[in-house]
């Protein structure tokens, strides 16, 4: 590391005492790079065993890495905390301007401790931290409005991040998200509820530090090589053209698109919510995270007439991605693009994780159909596949929680199904609602054992598709998945967006480290990836996670995947192989 790189500065903010301080953690960054590697260490230091995820003892860690601000597509921030949804490791990544802002403010990580007694928002401007009263922002209807207000009050336009929660976070919905730059999210595992429990409405960060490099000439050369590869790469092109929504049609053709709570894996209305249809008829603007030339963020322009006055319209910009098209579209039988967009807008306004929200509503619809719940529980809402209007009302009830049923829904599908039944079709893994990939054994294996129960841990959905039609052993699948998760610890410590994983190969990463003053071999990097993965697992075990008590919802075994019907034995076998490989006791 360059001796003058501000990366090792960790900013500690204590919300209880309204104080802050900075510690230099050079050794920690040298050993664990940044991002996920540093964050898991800080989480272990700060989060006591058995901490209440919604108590003041649960810390929030944000971390960026050595590539942030120096190389393109190093655009993500890692957040770690104890998840109020799963009661275990919480890790969520977001882009926007968050990563660059933290780095330019002069920090490698930010630790938020304690809880405020009244609503506040915190503004970090370089070396200074301001605690601002947020009583008047608490309860504001839309998370977008909160962003607008803070945007006008705080300096740093163009180079700041404004992370904020909506009412879902205030009301402690266990899968509330943190919105940043209006359209990006720390979506999964309930960071929004942790913000809410601390009465922290928003976090603004800006700064103007520069980052010195060791070898200017070769830094410029390697940067150019990386940049040129990125803008010319077909994989990156795909993210720019249709965005992640490009996956709808191929996954549907494959029979891997979860439909109506995974009662089917092909959707007859897929064309309506496809990336092609959205781009051709609704796409209004594409934008990028700071320092990413790809610009995968797709904003639909939805023009709606007001019913009370002729020729009076409003146009709303709504970001769409594959995951939400699945969860709030196909999973709920919603095949109309405009209906879908209205739902996406609602989760944005409320500040909910769209994936969990959709899966919870899908369970509720099936439970309602099967008579496990009635109009009494739903307060008269008649859940029906494809009925977006009812679903939007339900989303509002999940946030306002007028009765025990909606209180249960606000705790996630695992909890709700324990109370009302229907666990066999409650689609959560490790307590986290499933993402949109019914691709085969490796995808689900990743949801089960991935350290944050996300499709992005192991990328199993991609392995499933690659081995389709080929011969493979379960041993090979587990090996590929585990090595992938280990390597992704390095990417999420740099912190590089996973979309650029095809470009940031181990040799490329080692090479890019040199001019910025680090000397790391491919072997050393891989060993660090393994070590970070094990640290995360140790935290999980400490907090009660066990490979011996995983819940596999029966539904995933009933609906055929592209690899045919899956069996419980397959997973048992994969778990045994995994246990032997990972070398930790459970």
């Amino acid at each position: 590391m360059h001796p003058k790189d501000p990366l090792p500065n960790v900013l500690y903010i204590d919300l209880t005492r309204k104080t802050y301080w900075v510690e230099n953690r050079k050794e920690l960054f040298e050993e664990y790079l940044g991002g996920a590697g540093v964050a898991i260490n800080l989480l272990k230091e700060e989060c006591p065993k058995g901490a209440d995820p919604l108590g003041p003892e649960n810390p929030i860690i944000f971390a960026v890495g050595p590539f942030t601000g120096l190389y393109p597509i190093a655009s993500k921030t890692v957040a770690m905390f104890k998840s109020p949804l799963t009661g275990n490791l919480g890790e969520s990544h977001a882009g926007g301007r968050s990563a660059i802002a933290i780095r330019m403010a002069g920090y490698g990580a930010i630790v938020i401790k304690g809880a405020s007694d009244r609503p506040v928002y915190v503004a970090v401007h370089g070396d200074k931290v301001f605690f601002r009263d947020a009583s008047a922002l608490w309860g504001i209807k839309s998370s977008l409005t909160v962003g607008r207000i803070i945007r006008e009050r705080e300096p740093g336009a163009g180079m700041r991040t404004i992370m904020r929660i909506g009412r879902a976070g205030e009301r402690l919905v266990r899968y509330a998200c943190v919105v940043t730059e209006t359209y990006r999210h720390f979506g999964r595992l309930g960071l929004g509820a942790v913000f809410g429990s601390k009465k922290l409405k928003a976090l603004v960060i800006s700064g103007r530090k520069s980052i010195p490099v060791a070898d200017r000439k070769s830094y410029r050369e390697i940067y150019k090589e990386l940049y040129d590869t990125m803008v010319k790469s077909p994989a990156m092109r795909k993210y720019h053209d249709l965005g992640t929504a490009a996956n709808v049609i191929p996954l549907n053709k494959l029979g891997a698109l979860p439909v109506k709570n995974l009662q089917a894996s092909k959707f007859e209305k897929a064309d309506g919510i496809s990336g092609e249809n959205l781009a051709e008829n609704y796409l209004g603007r594409r934008i990028a995270c700071a320092h990413c030339p790809v610009a995968c963020i797709h904003l639909a322009a939805l023009r709606e007439p007001y019913v009370d006055e002729p020729y009076f319209y409003k146009t709303t910009f709504i970001s769409y991605d594959y995951e939400l098209i699945y969860s709030l579209g196909s999973m709920l039988g919603v095949g109309d693009a405009e209906e879908l967009l209205k739902m996406l807008d609602e989760v944005e306004v409320l500040g909910l994780d769209g994936i969990s929200s959709g899966v919870v509503l899908a369970w509720a619809t099936e439970a309602y159909e099967k008579g496990l719940i009635s109009d009494k529980e739903t307060l008269g809402l008649k859940f029906k596949w494809g009925d977006a209007e009812t679903y939007i009302k339900a989303l509002r009830y999940i946030v306002s929680q007028p009765n025990d049923f909606y209180k249960a829904l606000a705790r996630g599908v695992d909890y709700a199904s324990k109370v009302y039944g229907g666990e066999e079709f409650a689609l959560a893994f490790g307590g986290n609602e499933m993402p949109g990939y019914h691709t085969g054994p490796t995808g689900y294996f990743g949801f089960l054992v991935g350290s944050r129960h996300s499709h992005l841990d192991m990328g199993g959905y991609s392995i499933d598709q690659k081995v389709l039609g080929k011969e493979y052993t379960l041993e090979e699948l587990v090996e590929k998945a585990l090595r992938e998760e280990e390597w992704r610890q390095i990417l999420s410590s740099l912190v590089v967006c996973f979309f650029a994983r095809g470009i940031y190969k181990p040799e490329v990463v080692a090479k890019a480290f040199k001019p910025i003053g680090w000397d790391l071999s491919v072997d050393e990097l891989e060993a660090k990836g393994r070590a970070i993965h094990r640290l995360k697992y140790e935290f999980k075990i400490r907090e009660g996670f066990s490979l011996n008590k995983l819940r596999i919802p029966k539904r995933i075994l009933e609906t055929p995947t592209p690899h045919g019907r899956l069996s419980e034995e397959t997973f048992k076998e994969m778990l045994e192989i995994f246990k032997a490989k990972i070398g930790l006791s459970f």
């Binding site: 660059i100 962003g147 530090k209 320092h291 610009a295």
Partner: protein, 137 residues
């Protein structure tokens, strides 16, 4: 034929995706990361959904920044715009105030203006054709 004098210009601001790659490129001219010393600025137009503002020096032929400099640190560039002589500059900030489009950026560390030299390095890193070098003479 001698090569024509060029200046940096906005080709189509509506193509901007806000990636800030141009700003990072400008800072790399000095061999550093980040965008602190960038002579080009990109920010959203009241929220990213409304698009972006890209501020570049317009290369005025009678530049107000040079007119208000009390020490003659800014000299006219052939084809428009100015050059900065940092050893003359006293950091008064008049130039920054005088530029009506805010294209004179400020280096807080050195307490001197950051002046676009119209070198066009940033153009190589704009993935969507927002900025370009155009001939002025």
């Amino acid at each position: 034929m001698a090569s024509k004098i060029k200046r940096l210009d906005i080709i189509d601001v509506d193509r901007c995706v806000g990636c800030l790659s141009c700003m990072f490129a400008c800072a790399r001219r000095f061999g550093e990361g980040g965008y602190d010393r960038s002579a080009i600025a990109v920010r959203s137009t009241a929220g990213v959904e409304r698009g972006f503002v890209v501020v570049v020096c317009r290369a005025c032929t009678d530049p107000p920044c040079a007119r208000v400099c009390p020490v003659g640190a800014l000299t006219l560039r052939k084809g428009g715009g100015v050059y900065l002589n940092p050893s003359k500059c006293i950091g008064c900030g008049f130039c920054k105030e005088a530029c009506p489009i805010g294209a004179v950026m400020w280096d807080d560390e050195m307490n001197k203006p950051i002046i676009c030299t119209h070198c066009g390095y940033c153009v190589n890193f704009c993935p969507h054709g927002v900025i370009g070098l155009v001939e002025v003479a």
